[in-house]
């Protein structure tokens, strides 16, 4: 092989990787040789610690390959990716040029190719891929690997029955085109010079090439030159050419027509590729658009299944491992699995990460096509497709699009799973912190009343004789009051955890606010004696739709709060009015007010204005906020200009509040 140092000067791009790391490239062909080739490359790469690529150049010929061979390519690329290589597919015409361009771009130092087959005219002309590579490789080493032991029947043998028929039709079309042109030629022959007649043939070749594949197109160019020479070039009706000038004409015509047919075929191929890519890009774009606006895994699967079903006009479903790792259909079309075969294929696909099912070479005896949904690390699920013509989906471009969509969905699922895991972890941490705060906060608040209760009760027991009746009464009263306090605290804690867990369903009915406030006042009755109450509720307030028990809790907590932070004897005011289609309730006190800047903080869980000094777990206002917001209202705190705190909350006024019904009155 060439001396790398020497060529490096002449051709800088071919300089080996500066990092000193070797990059290897294995070129794949649609034959079983690809597999041993990949393994050989992988072994060498592993030994050298090199990075390696597996490259398949997709030429126009790829589309005409039988599905088995296309499948071989897909398998080979998949294997390469699995073994740690980077699998790449590129489109192009000249395999050797594409390989070399890729190799230079990726600073490849060694290229592995399969040993060419002995037969074929290109071999004798030195035109095989290997020869071409060796000629143009520059500093890159070319390693030819034989895969003879595993080389199976040549791909041609497997060609499906429909292919030759179509090919035959295309050749006949070429013949017909040239025949038509010849007819035209005869009618114009008297009026046109030979050169211009040749132009008509060239035109025919261009037209035919634009609608025929390269083989028949090339055939049409040869045929037209032959027919032209036979009918219109003297000697007429013979291939003998009368003079040198005509020979020149024919040679030029042949060269031009073959070039034209080749170029036209190329353009056609590029148009096809562009169209296919556009379709794929559009589908991929749509999918990524759809997958971004997703809230849950279920929705994601649903959207993905629907879009794949729409794009490919088939029944699509997504299977993912559920309980005991059994694959379950999670979105899309359900299907019948009479003998459990579908499930087995799905399981196989999930395990091996490889396409299988109807129409494929692997496990084809089922109704569905199964495609692995591959995330970054592993197979995450299986995409199931069912259609009457599985071959349609297994065409090269459909399959490629399916694979791309599959990996997009796989990655989206993975992302969603990771997101949920992160969320769960965050929630756990939050719950943990909550528990800790709760424990420290609550243990203090629980212990204080318990200490009073235990102390008073034991005093009563010990001093049965010595205590006078008034002291006994005081102690008993203390026990009773502290027990009530404990009860409210425990109730708040339970309520909080119920609200937190989202268990508290609102049991909304039409209520009179006055009654709710009255019932709250009745529950606080003994404590309220220290504070004169001023209640100012208009008599014509409309009914509100609320959960009365919860709303009562809001009023109780706000009143308790007011009593707790204001000196005895100061009044508490309760007022209500309608404002902007809301019922605005205010509970104001004449105490020290909320410390400025803490108006929002006090609604935070466990927040206490002066920790330790007052009783309560710091949950009351948090519960109020949760309840009010669950009703669609707002709650906030402010200080009155003349001093004292003012808590407001709103309840939305809804249409259709019951009014006094005449029927009910007159019954």
């Amino acid at each position: 092989m060439a001396d790398p140092g020497q060529v490096a000067v002449a051709q800088p791009p071919m300089e080996p990787d500066r990092s000193g790391q070797e990059n290897l490239l294995v070129c794949l062909s649609p034959s079983p040789v690809a597999i041993p080739l990949i393994r050989a490359t992988q072994r060498l790469a592993a030994a050298q610690g090199a990075k390696w690529f597996a490259l398949y150049v997709e030429t126009p010929a790829h589309d005409r390959l039988p599905p088995e061979n296309r499948e071989m390519v897909a398998q080979a690329l998949y294997l390469a990716a699995k073994l740690g290589g980077q699998a790449v597919k590129v489109s192009g015409f000249r395999i050797a040029d594409e390989i070399l361009a890729f190799a230079r771009e990726n600073r490849v130092s060694k290229i592995f190719v399969g040993k060419p087959k002995a037969r074929g005219w290109r071999r004798f002309l030195g035109l095989s891929l290997v020869d071409h590579l060796i000629w143009h490789c520059g500093a890159i080493d070319i390693l030819v690997v034989s895969g003879e032991a595993e080389e199976a029947a040549p791909p041609q043998a497997a060609t499906a029955g429909s292919k030759p028929r179509r090919l035959l039709k295309e050749y006949l079309l070429a013949v017909a085109g040239v025949g038509l042109c010849t007819g035209l030629g005869f009618s114009l022959f008297p009026h046109l010079a030979l050169r211009n007649l040749a132009m008509i043939y060239l035109l025919t070749v261009v037209v035919l090439s634009s609608c025929l594949p390269p083989g028949p197109a090339l055939f049409s160019s040869f045929l037209s030159v032959a027919v032209f020479a036979f009918f219109f070039v003297p000697e007429y009706y013979s291939f003998v050419v009368a003079n040198g000038e005509y020979t020149m004409t024919l040679v030029v015509m042949l060269v031009v027509s073959t070039l034209v047919s080749g170029l036209t075929a190329r353009i056609r191929h590029q148009v096809q590729v562009a169209r296919r890519q556009e379709r794929q890009t559009a589908a991929l774009y749509e999918m990524s658009q759809n997958l971004t606006a997703i809230n849950s895994l279920e929705e994601l699967l649903q959207v993905a299944a629907e879009q794949i079903s729409r794009t490919f006009d088939c029944r699509a479903g997504i299977l993912m491992p559920g309980k005991e790792d059994r694959l379950e259909i999670r979105a899309g079309q359900a299907y019948e699995d009479e003998y459990g075969r579908e499930g087995m294929v799905a399981k196989w696909v999930f395990k091996h990460g490889h396409l299988a099912g109807s129409g494929t070479p692997t496990l084809p005896n089922v109704k569905g096509i199964y495609l692995p949904l591959i995330a970054s690390q592993n197979v995450i699920g299986v995409l199931r497709l069912e259609t009457e013509q599985p071959q349609r989906l297994l065409e090269a471009d459909s399959l490629r699009l399916l694979e791309a969509l599959g990996s997009q969905v796989g990655l989206a699922i993975e992302r969603e799973n990771l997101f949920r895991q992160a969320q769960t972890a965050r929630l756990q941490i939050e719950a943990e912190q909550l528990r800790n705060t709760l424990l420290s906060s609550v243990s203090h608040d629980l212990r204080t009343p318990l200490t009073v209760i235990a102390g008073s009760a034991s005093s009563l027991l010990e001093g049965e004789e010595s205590l006078d009746s008034e002291t006994k009464r005081d102690l008993a009263q203390g026990i009773y009051e502290e027990a009530r306090r404990l009860d409210r605290l425990v109730y708040n804690l339970l309520e909080m955890s119920r609200l937190q867990a989202g268990e508290a369903r609102l049991n909304q009915e039409w209520y009179v606010l006055e009654e709710v406030i009255g019932s709250a006042l009745a529950q606080l009755d003994p404590q309220l004696h220290d504070h004169p109450l001023r209640i100012n509720l208009p008599t014509d307030l409309p009914l509100v739709q609320i959960d009365a028990l919860l709303m009562e809790r809001v009023v109780i907590n706000l009143l308790e709060n007011a009593m707790k932070y204001t000196p005895p004897g100061t009044p508490i005011e309760i007022s209500g009015r309608i404002q902007d289609r809301e019922l605005l309730v205010a509970i104001a006190d004449y105490g020290p007010g909320v410390p400025p800047g803490q108006e929002e903080l006090i609604f935070e869980k466990f927040y206490q204005v002066a920790p330790g000094s007052q009783r309560g777990a710091g949950l009351g206002l948090t519960i109020c906020r949760r309840i009010v917001e669950a009703h669609g209202g707002r709650i906030w705190a402010a200080n009155r200009p003349e001093g004292g705190a003012n808590f407001h909350f709103t309840i939305p006024l809804l249409e259709g509040a019951p009014k006094l019904d005449k029927d009910l009155e007159e019954l």
């Binding site: 009860d487 009654e515 009745a522 009914l543 009365a548 006094l660 009910l664």
Partner: protein
């Protein structure tokens, strides 16, 4: 009374039984105790108590089931002891035939008041004898003339309001569920019309109470119903 009223307490917690025993026996009741539903039902059949106090969290049976079984053969007043936050259960129990309920924790005073009401209901002497009047605080109802007075002043009530008040007086001291009130005042097809009941109660309070927001007579039992204060 010639003999002490017999109270059957069905409650699985020994501490609660102990404190109730202490309070009730000193008040002159005879207490029999059961720690489970089946035992309670058997005692109810053999001892024929005057009042049953039934805890809702029994180990062997749902409280509702105990009530239903008891009611299948007995009219004994049942007072349910339940925890806060079980309003639906309370209503279900009351509708199944329980007479009243007490929310834990409760004071002995409350319990004794409920029991007095329950025992009065059980006393056969008052049955069948139409009352002529009823008074509570400064309220007075003259049933014969269908007049209601607040102090010396006559209060004008609509027919429905008067009916509502009479039903509450009939059950005075005892909780009456929304359903039961609607059924007795308006009729069985109105049992779902809670909002209307609330409007009528509101109006009644405005006519009868000194401070309708802090009612002294017509008490709200949150989530369950109403109770007319008795003493």
């Amino acid at each position: 009374m010639a003999t002490n009223p017999i109270i059957l307490l069905i409650e699985d917690d020994a501490h609660i039984r102990r404190f109730l025993r202490a309070s009730l026996v000193t008040q002159g009741y005879e207490l029999i105790e059961a720690a489970a539903g089946k035992e309670g039902l058997a005692l109810a059949a053999s001892r024929v108590p005057d009042v049953v106090l039934l805890d809702l969290g029994l180990p062997d049976m749902e409280g509702l089931e105990v009530i239903q079984q008891l009611r299948s053969w007995s009219n004994v007043p049942i007072i349910v002891l339940s925890a806060r936050g079980q309003e639906r259960d309370k209503v279900a129990n009351l509708d199944a035939g329980a007479d009243d309920y007490l929310t834990k924790p409760f004071g002995v005073g409350e319990l004794l008041a409920r029991m007095r009401v329950a025992l009065r209901k059980a006393a056969p002497a008052e049955e069948g004898k139409p009352e002529e009047s009823y008074s509570l605080g400064n309220l007075r109802v003259d049933f014969q003339r269908r007049l209601v007075f607040r102090g010396r002043e006559e209060v004008h009530l609509t027919p429905i309001e008067y009916k509502l008040l009479s039903v509450l007086i009939k059950h005075r001291g005892k909780v009456v569920t929304h359903r039961q009130l609607l059924k007795e005042v308006w009729g069985p097809s109105y049992i779902e019309q809670n909002p209307y009941l609330r409007i009528f109660i509101l109006n009644l309070r405005r006519k009868l109470e000194d401070d309708p927001t802090r009612p002294q007579y017509l008490l709200t039992e949150p989530g369950v119903g109403y109770r007319l204060r008795d003493e």
